[in-house]
Subunit: 162 residues, 3 copies
């Protein structure tokens, strides 16, 4: 994708499509494909809104390369212990907030609904994605993804990527 | 709509518009208009994610023609007994997953919020729509609609179409 | 924006972008910017679905000019007393329902998730936006915004604009 020739609207629609593919990948539990949405030197963080708003660095999850994402997937498949659950992402209000030096800045709202085995479907996490994207072939990938969550009391725990 | 000449993006936007009209029809309780979103020989199913993932056929709701959908609407209006409720659909992450032989395959995430008369608004059902669409006049209609739900413990019961 | 030359689809995408900017403004608590989304002689209402469906005029919130919106913001900043909370809007199923005499009619579904300080993230309000928009410079602003809510038992209270 040539970022210098694409319109702001087409860029928004492309980011929307990327976010849809990303959400579907996670909702269907295809974790092995998840690191492929990122650049090799990516930054992936899950950070509370309190810390984000104050510019504080502490994150619930911090990975600084695609290799670290792959490592997490291996841990989830082979080492971690957790109860089964279904997740469902709702992503909306996608906005392009900037385009410069080959980087696209985008923001969107998310909610994740969680179904545990002995309970109704509940809101697990709400928040916003703050993303930096770069072109890769015909499409886009995440160079940075900051998952900023509103939720102060998380039901159960954050097991899977957001 | 001529499926052979429309771009993948335009198709996605058309499906998004169809899904918006579909959701609004149900949320506003215009049940009599609902079968009009389907072909005459349609397949409409509401199926649990457990059964969907295993390829098992049992569905909570199975209708194999538009006439069966109309029959359900008649039952809802004249025979069934249920408490009043408001529904609100949230549909996102619409994706085109295939186009061939005059058929469009699409997938999207849904959540339905339910308001019963003596309670707060709650998550009623989350899941994904797996749709097969065909051209009809200027637009599209559902030849198949599989409503695959995550929810294991459904609050109250599934009264209305999803 | 020239309403007479823009396609129905482009109009829908423009309204989608306006609604995304509107949601983000409120979710980030930038209340001072909120009246700028409206015309000077705007109508802004938060009305129950029961009253909306019956055509009854009583509203939980009624403002009949941008000045009244600004007055509310001043009250929220300087006079009202309420507990801290995070809000997150989910807006979907945006539809253009009419274009005439320089006015665009649009409708969309919303859900607002609320995080209070001592609780999980919960559904605060679901409903639909019924909007009348007019051109302003390159974009659109709200001449009327009717926030029609389904929710019968509102957790806590409606403090902020919807």
């Amino acid at each position: 994708m040539n970022l210098s020739s694409v319109s702001r609207r087409d860029l928004r629609l492309s980011v929307e499509e990327l976010l849809a593919a990303y959400a579907t990948c996670l909702d269907e539990g295809r974790l092995e494909e998840w690191p492929g949405f990122f650049t090799e030197n990516c930054l992936y963080r899950i950070v509370s809104r309190e810390n984000w708003d104050r510019g504080l660095p502490l994150a619930a999850w911090l990975s600084e390369s695609r290799g670290m994402l792959q490592d997490r997937v291996t841990a989830l498949r082979q080492a971690n212990v957790y109860g089964p659950r279904y997740l469902r992402h709702l992503v909306s209000s996608v906005q392009i907030t900037g385009v410069e030096n080959g980087k696209v800045r985008a923001q969107s709202n998310f909610a994740i609904l969680q179904t545990l085995q002995d309970d109704e479907t509940r809101v697990f996490l709400s928040g916003k994605y703050v993303d930096v994207l770069v072109a890769a072939g015909e499409g886009l990938v995440f160079a940075e993804k900051h998952c900023v969550y509103d939720t102060l009391r998380i039901p159960n725990s954050i097991v899977f990527p957001v």
